[in-house]
């Protein structure tokens, strides 16, 4: 069981965030180097008018970041991640992600939480809707 996030302390329905950040050109360049994915849509031009960030950029990280606004997440581990992409992820715009702690459950002795969240840009354009299932730790619950 998780000592960092006591299962009983988790409040289903709790609002998480918002978290805000801006993806800059240098972030995308770092991504293309680390992932060895020099897609020209990220570096030069795209069908959307100018370069964009990869659609899954930080996609699986924002759920953890939201959870970390209320809980100690350092021992957590992602087990399932889901995303729907509504608009390209813009470079240079402020991105706002709001979430909710949608569920908690125990399966095969491991404790999990479900975080649902939506990203919009500074103009209110919906970018992504996401759901993360996060194990609170790899330690099994003994009850």
């Amino acid at each position: 069981m998780s000592k960092e996030i006591p299962f009983k302390s988790i409040v289903v329905g709790e609002v998480l965030g918002p978290i805000e950040y801006t993806i800059k050109k240098r972030h995308v360049e770092s991504y293309t180097q680390d992932w060895r994915d020099p897609n020209p849509m990220y570096l030069t031009d795209s069908p959307f008018g100018g370069p964009i960030a990869p659609p899954a950029y930080r996609a699986g990280l924002d759920g953890f970041s939201l959870l970390a606004t209320k809980y100690d997440t350092h021992a957590t581990i992602g087990v399932k991640t889901e995303h729907a992409f509504f608009s390209p992820v813009p470079i240079g715009k402020r991105l706002i992600t709001r979430g909710v702690l949608a569920d908690k459950y125990i399966k095969r002795g491991i404790e999990y939480v479900v975080v649902k969240f939506t990203m919009t840009d500074e103009d209110g354009v919906k970018i992504r809707e996401s759901t993360d299932h996060i194990a609170l730790s790899v330690e099994r619950v003994i009850r």
Partner: protein, 139 residues
């Protein structure tokens, strides 16, 4: 790149992507005890070593869809994946593969659904799920 739903058939294979897995923070940062990003903790729990973050693996899984469907995945696409099988460690040779598993008519086009998965060099799957792109109908 696949630009129309008529150009793709159930059973078609996507062009696989291959990488040496790399997460910069696993090299540059020090993590707290009981973090899955530490070799000592993960190895004490039966893993081969520090686990790469799920968001990094999600990036690798998404790449094959961008390469295959471009803007039709970037706007209107979906992805749902699970992580298992001991995870991925920095330096692992990984291959992401996919096949078209379904085509579903929607108001704005045809959703092309793909089974996608990541294998390590020994053929063991460590990530798997489904992703889709929304392609225009011809005519």
């Amino acid at each position: 790149m696949i630009v129309s739903s008529e150009a793709v058939h159930v059973g078609s294979k996507l062009v696989a992507t291959r990488h040496t897995a790399y997460q910069r923070s696993l090299v540059e940062r020090t993590f707290l005890p009981k973090s899955i990003h530490r070799d000592d903790y993960t190895q004490s729990r039966g893993y081969a070593g520090a686990l790469m973050s799920s968001y990094v693996l999600c990036g690798y899984m998404s790449e094959i869809m961008v390469n295959s469907f471009g803007e039709h995945y970037i706007k209107g696409g979906k992805i749902s994946i699970k992580f298992f099988g001991g995870g991925v460690q920095n330096g692992d040779k990984i291959t992401v593969k996919g096949t078209v598993s379904d085509k579903v008519k929607e108001d704005r086009g045809t959703r092309v659904v793909c089974d996608i998965w990541m294998e390590k060099n020994d053929g063991r799957k460590v990530v798997a799920g489904r992703a889709s792109a929304l392609l225009p109908n011809e005519g």
